[in-house]
């Protein structure tokens, strides 16, 4: 490992260092608030280093071509670090529920962030797989932190289904390796380009397996079985993290592997069709099943399945515009969904209930939280002036340009369906009768996180140009 290698790996190294430091300090530190602060310092240091890499022209590959530092990976590093920071801020009030394991909680948030960053930067199958495992194992443990029956169920279900899906993924990768004799993504693409058509069945099998493995991470139908139970049982900050960062990591790895290794026209035609079908299934099923949900975490779980469906429309387009659309959508979705979840964390923690019916009249008990939640839900539907609106327009426009109008029509119909249940929550909060008149407030760090997310939704909704130009640069950098 040369100096340059270490330099390029430093954002991840910093996170690993802080994770271990926090676990060790947890032994001695009495006031656990310091650990949250230290976690933020670690995330900040990592982000600062990422900024140095971005600005200093350190783009390139490192460590025997296993790690890519390009605009694509740098963008996702910022996204994951930001999401983790907001989640940590939002956890400050919540984390008394697992007082004994706070150090481990923050350490696992850091290791999973490191795993996601490696998922976005790896350009080699073994590295990608092991990074995915790092992310997943951290999240399995995080899902079980509450240690009540629901949380245990969440952790166990996530672990079992995740283990199966990662085994399937590994099988798919092994088939690719057996076929091409390579694990580096660009080398796989080269080998596939030279390959006669007769080898197609195994390649197709491999593609299906890899789609399965990644589909589990991004919670696409039919690999979504775990979502409602895990989202409901996990600690709510972890649910937020899962719905935003883990999904974004899934899309990052999917984009990287499919465009780089399987981007040849023969393969691409197939997997774009697969993703189009999955997109239809995810949107429709997610939205329809979200309607009857009484628990807001389950509802947001199904909503995240539907959002994954919209995102997969971008995968089906196979164009630069579609890829940058995914990136833009992911960024705005991160703001939106984190905002919604932070508000839910604050409210539910206070009223000790996740039921939508208990949110009745929340506008009177806490205008601020209810307003922010409403704003984020509007963004999830895709109504202007929010980020969600721009993201959907951008992405669907890309799909129409590639002749996928049928897919866009389905997506728009689905957006209309989704308005019903998103606005149902809004209706309950503004029109319902409050169960009590007690004020609902949140701790300051959580409010700060909420402000960041909501302002982000608004700013991107009004002034999307800077983010669009970033998304285009990032999307272009994926194909060298």
């Amino acid at each position: 490992m040369t100096f340059e290698d270490a330099y390029r790996l430093s954002p991840e190294l910093i996170l690993g260092f802080f994770a271990i430091l926090i676990v060790l300090l947890d032994l001695g530190v009495r006031r656990k608030g310091w650990l949250a602060a230290l976690t933020l310092v670690g995330l900040g240091a990592s982000a600062a280093w990422t900024a140095v890499l971005t600005a200093g022209g350190w783009q390139g590959t490192a460590l025997g071509d296993t790690l890519a530092v390009d605009n694509f990976s740098l963008f996702f590093k910022f996204l994951f670090l930001g999401a983790a920071a907001l989640v940590v801020l939002a956890s400050t009030g919540y984390s008394i529920r697992f007082a004994r394991f706070q150090g481990e909680y923050y350490a696992l948030v850091l290791t999973s962030a490191a795993g996601m960053m490696l998922m976005a930067s790896g350009r080699e199958l073994i590295t990608l797989y092991i990074s995915l495992e790092l992310t997943s194992l951290s999240l399995y443990a995080l899902a079980g932190f509450l240690k009540d029956p629901r949380s245990n169920e969440a952790s166990l279900k996530y672990l079992l289904l995740g283990a199966i899906s990662s085994a399937v993924l590994l099988y798919g990768m092994a088939l690719l390796l057996g076929l091409t004799g390579e694990t580096h993504l660009d080398a796989i693409a080269n080998a596939l380009g030279r390959m006669p058509g007769a080898n197609y069945p195994v390649l197709f099998l491999g593609i299906i397996f890899i789609v399965t493995g990644f589909g589990f991470k991004i919670a696409a139908v039919p690999f979504q079985m775990w979502v409602p139970d895990v989202y409901e049982g996990s600690p709510t900050p972890v649910t937020a993290y899962l719905s935003v960062a883990s999904k974004a990591a899934g899309f990052a790895i999917t984009l990287r592997v499919f465009t780089l290794a399987l981007g040849g026209p023969r393969e691409a035609a197939d997997w774009s069709l697969i993703f189009a079908i999955l997109a239809v299934a995810s949107m429709t099923l997610g939205n329809i099943l979200a309607i009857p949900q009484a628990n807001i975490k389950r509802m947001l779980g199904y909503s995240s399945i539907a959002q994954a469906g919209y995102l997969m429309v971008g995968l089906a387009t196979l164009s630069d515009l579609g890829r940058s659309g995914i990136i833009f959508f992911l960024a705005s979705y991160a703001f939106t969904n984190l905002g919604a979840f932070i508000a839910v964390i604050a409210i539910s923690h206070r009223i000790d209930s996740d039921l939508i019916s208990d949110y009745a009249g929340m506008a009177h008990r806490s205008p601020l939280l209810a307003g922010a939640l409403t704003f984020c839900l509007i963004s999830l539907v895709g109504i202007p002036p929010t980020a969600g609106f721009i993201a959907k327009v951008y992405l669907f426009n890309a799909a129409v340009q590639q002749g996928l109008a049928w897919l866009v029509i389905i997506a728009v119909v689905n957006s209309v369906i989704s308005a019903y249940y998103y606005l149902g929550v809004v209706k309950a909060m503004f029109m319902g009768t409050p169960l009590s008149l007690e004020r609902v407030t949140a701790v300051r760090p959580a409010l700060a996180a909420l402000a960041v997310a909501t302002v982000g939704v608004l700013v991107v909704g009004i002034l999307p140009e800077p983010l669009i130009s970033i998304a285009q640069a990032v999307g272009r950098s994926l194909i060298p």
């Binding site: 271990i20 296993t66 004994r100 696992l108 795993g115 495992e133 790092l134 069945p201």
Partner: protein, 163 residues
């Protein structure tokens, strides 16, 4: 049939028998032992492929650690008296699905022209070490972090709640 071919088929048979034993045995400890047979036979196949180091790692990790861990867990968590019910109503569905998958996999494997290795030869041990710590250092080190995370997760899940 050469000796190597004979060995390959014998080991393959042992692997499959072990795998079937894992799935079909009604006694979980027997399943674990059948798993050991299967894993050791796979190690034998590695030896046939001139991957001695991989074979030894397989024996050490799977035979010496994972199967022991499995047996340990089985012995500590279930008493001999509890009925060993492992069936559920999805069995026929699972059978159909796995047979279907097997058929698809076999057909596609036969239709494919695989890239064959050149003259088989072993890799020198020091070359292996060098490549592991130079070309593949990133996945190797990330794996250690994965193990640390797994350890932490296991402790968190296994320890009783604060109250």
């Amino acid at each position: 049939m050469t000796g190597a071919q004979f060995l390959f088929y014998a080991l393959g048979l042992a692997t499959v028998m072990g795998g079937l034993g894992v799935v079909l045995s009604r006694n979980v400890v027997h399943s674990a032992l059948a798993l050991l047979l299967s894993l050791i036979a796979v190690a034998g196949i590695y030896v046939l492929l001139y991957a001695e180091f991989l074979a030894l790692v397989q024996v050490l990790i799977y035979g010496g650690a994972i199967v022991i861990l499995l047996l340990f867990v089985l012995m500590l968590t279930r008493s001999g008296e509890s009925p060993l019910v492992l069936d559920n109503p999805q069995k026929p569905v699972a059978l159909v699905v796995s047979l279907l998958f097997m058929a698809i996999a076999i057909v596609s494997f036969f239709l494919t022209r695989w890239k064959l290795a050149q003259a088989p030869r072993g890799v020198d041990f020091s070359v292996l070490g060098g490549s592991l710590f130079q070309d593949w250092v990133l996945p190797f080190e990330v794996a250690s972090l994965v193990l640390l995370v797994a350890l932490m997760g296991a402790i968190i899940i296994a320890r009783e709640s604060p109250q």
